[in-house]
Symmetry: C2
Subunit: 483 residues, 2 copies
Amino acid sequence: MNPIDVDVAIIGAGTAGLTARRQAEANGATVALIDPGPYGTTCARVGCMPSKLLIAAAEAAHRARHAALFGVDTTVSIDGRRVMQRVQAERDRFAGFVQRAIEELRTRGVLIPGRARFLDDHRLEVDRVDGAPPLVVRAGSVVIATGSRPFVPPPYRGLSRDVLLTTDEIFELPDLPDSLLVVGAGVIGMELGQAMARLGVRTTILSLGGRIAFIDSEPVNAEAIRIFRQELDLHPHHELHEVEEVDGGVSVRFTDFDGRTRTERYARVLMGAGRVPNWEGLGLENTRLTLDDRGRPEVNPYTHQVEDSHIFVAGDVAGHRPLLHEAADEGRLAGLNAARYPHVLAEPRKTPLSIMFTDPQVAVVGDRWPDLSCADHRVGVVDYGDQGRARVMGENRGMVRIAGAAGTGQLIAAQMIGPRVEHTAHLLAWAIQGRMLVSEALDRPFYHPVIEEGIRTALRDLQSKLHLSYKPEHPCEEWGAGT
Amino acid sequence: MNPIDVDVAIIGAGTAGLTARRQAEANGATVALIDPGPYGTTCARVGCMPSKLLIAAAEAAHRARHAALFGVDTTVSIDGRRVMQRVQAERDRFAGFVQRAIEELRTRGVLIPGRARFLDDHRLEVDRVDGAPPLVVRAGSVVIATGSRPFVPPPYRGLSRDVLLTTDEIFELPDLPDSLLVVGAGVIGMELGQAMARLGVRTTILSLGGRIAFIDSEPVNAEAIRIFRQELDLHPHHELHEVEEVDGGVSVRFTDFDGRTRTERYARVLMGAGRVPNWEGLGLENTRLTLDDRGRPEVNPYTHQVEDSHIFVAGDVAGHRPLLHEAADEGRLAGLNAARYPHVLAEPRKTPLSIMFTDPQVAVVGDRWPDLSCADHRVGVVDYGDQGRARVMGENRGMVRIAGAAGTGQLIAAQMIGPRVEHTAHLLAWAIQGRMLVSEALDRPFYHPVIEEGIRTALRDLQSKLHLSYKPEHPCEEWGAGT
């Protein structure tokens, strides 16, 4: 019983590890799934789900506050404890589904609660969380799926746990904080910063480099900064002078995006400055893998294999596409390849899709914008400021830019900020993955009046910039008023 | 100057007539566009746009009222005059775009304000609205695009204009009515009935036949009735005993959906019982066309031509697909064919798509459900009652059914009620038009957590019912918690 022999050892029972487990077993492998807990996946416990729950509350407050536009008068008061209670109760429910699956795996003896460390290429020592003596697991192949953790930039590392929050802590608060400094304008910083501000928390968002999240089209980034700064104390770039923990919070001195030097106090500081992969403590130095100067191996992004070895890496720790749906795909393929090693397959990756659930939402689809310089292309544009349905709903702001290849009009990429972008981004991601031409997209149905008609406007613009059609004199006569 | 000679005469300056005009001129034809007004299209003046504006106000009120779920406490009061003012102001703005295009056409002499009537196959007499003597227009070919008007069922025809409202009048009201009887549970009746109810108007919706709008899948219809009846005094079937105009409104005695006989008073009655095509007064009996017993010719739904004649029919009057985006397509092709007659083309129709903008929304995509009996198929289902993102937003209700062909899994049709269906219906309509297989759809990206993941659940269900894949034991382990 000690050592335990299995075909596949999987380190980490998050999204990637769980799909790897299923796929490895489905391919006939015996599996040990090693994780010290807490269980329930980053997404369900501290990521996608609780953040969307907080956003749902913020959106309810925001919409109620702005109903007067429609002739609906309201008063709004926010009960921070109830806001957090719903976030926690629903979050626990979502994480509970995963935890029940984990419990079954523990009962079956597949899950070993503990921390794994390579002793050599095929042997892992498991430091068990229940205090039992360490186990040794001998595995034909190994999947590393250890995930990631919040990054804390150096100036904030001295802050105590009374003040410093990461996504591991913020959803545990019993009530909304009095005030909040958000460090970083990435997805986490922007989503939670805007949600907190809309829930009445005095919030400042400080970032470096002048970019909002993953946007890399200059005009879309500029539009995002313009829109979000109308509502938020947002500084996409700033100079930090001093961070000091004070009674009941933190005092921060910084020069803001407008060049003003300010000293502000906040009750709490939330880290939204990205996540770092969990490579530490794995004992990779005891294997034959070649490691870079940070102690990390190089992972093939198509097969998830390290070199030609029996070791595979999937999910956030690999750092290729740290998103739930990609982690699930990577885990599945890593599990398959681990079970069938040395017979290893690649799999076509899905069209890249990233969404930020702010209001307005932001998305990028397909190739990164700088990569477009390699292809002869044009960009079709729509300004949602004057789009019919968006105006009807009072959400008429934003911009969508769609790139298509010269000569054919094949759709390549899109960068988007605007209403309901999570949906139109799916439409475009599906079209791009299907290698759809702009002419084919324009032959598809667009109902009226819908947000999708704004996408059509951008496609028409793209088509005429590619000289694949003429521009009509009166779009409203051609396509209906308010498209 | 009298008669006027043109290549193409177009009767009706609505959506179909305007696109026909543009296409005919683009193909070198001289055009007379004949319409007595009011100008601005059915859609912009009395259809899609003002209804969506009223719905936007209703949704603002509804969401504000139900924010407590999220920990946001509100009071809500509705200012009916301001509600209607926004509807009218924005509606006028949308219709104004069309009216300006019309004005240019009038200046250019293309638009002749008046009513047209065939004198013979090629000559139209125009009864001018400005009191000038009638004109005769001699045309090589003719496009009939006279649109439709609200249908008033016989029991309500005796009501005075003080009580009876159609979509021609309801958006002109200076204030919300005190109470409203809606006749018909089609798109107009359901959209406006629910909007009025949510704006605090005591509203009853009475219909015949037990169906909600265009739904023809039994389980989806049953789910729609169940959901809407939780909120609305909705009777998909009823027996009408008496309608009587009384002081300040109407008194109606009916046996409702639950078999109770009730007598109710309402300040106003809104017709939502469909629209009838405007065939009257065209003098078609003076042409060589064969007319049915209602005096209507048979129109080819692909070329829009009547028999092999020089007369074409487009838009609502044709009755094939009375929707803005279809009317625009039909007008374009009818205009092209009228200009190039006798050289006449068909054009592939778009995948059928109908959307009802209630909450939850309803849509049907692709083939009608009864037509599916001609194809060996299976139906994949998702219940939105337990869908992750829908639950996060507190909109977790509804059902989507997707049909796919046996053997290949090619997607055929969908019937849907649920959150954000207007967007997922576009995704499925595009997929169906592209002849996508269920396996291809499942290879496309689905972000997390999104409403689209519910569609994936239905696709997975379809795939396993078609025996094109196995069903996983733990969906949450495979695809993430709360998908």
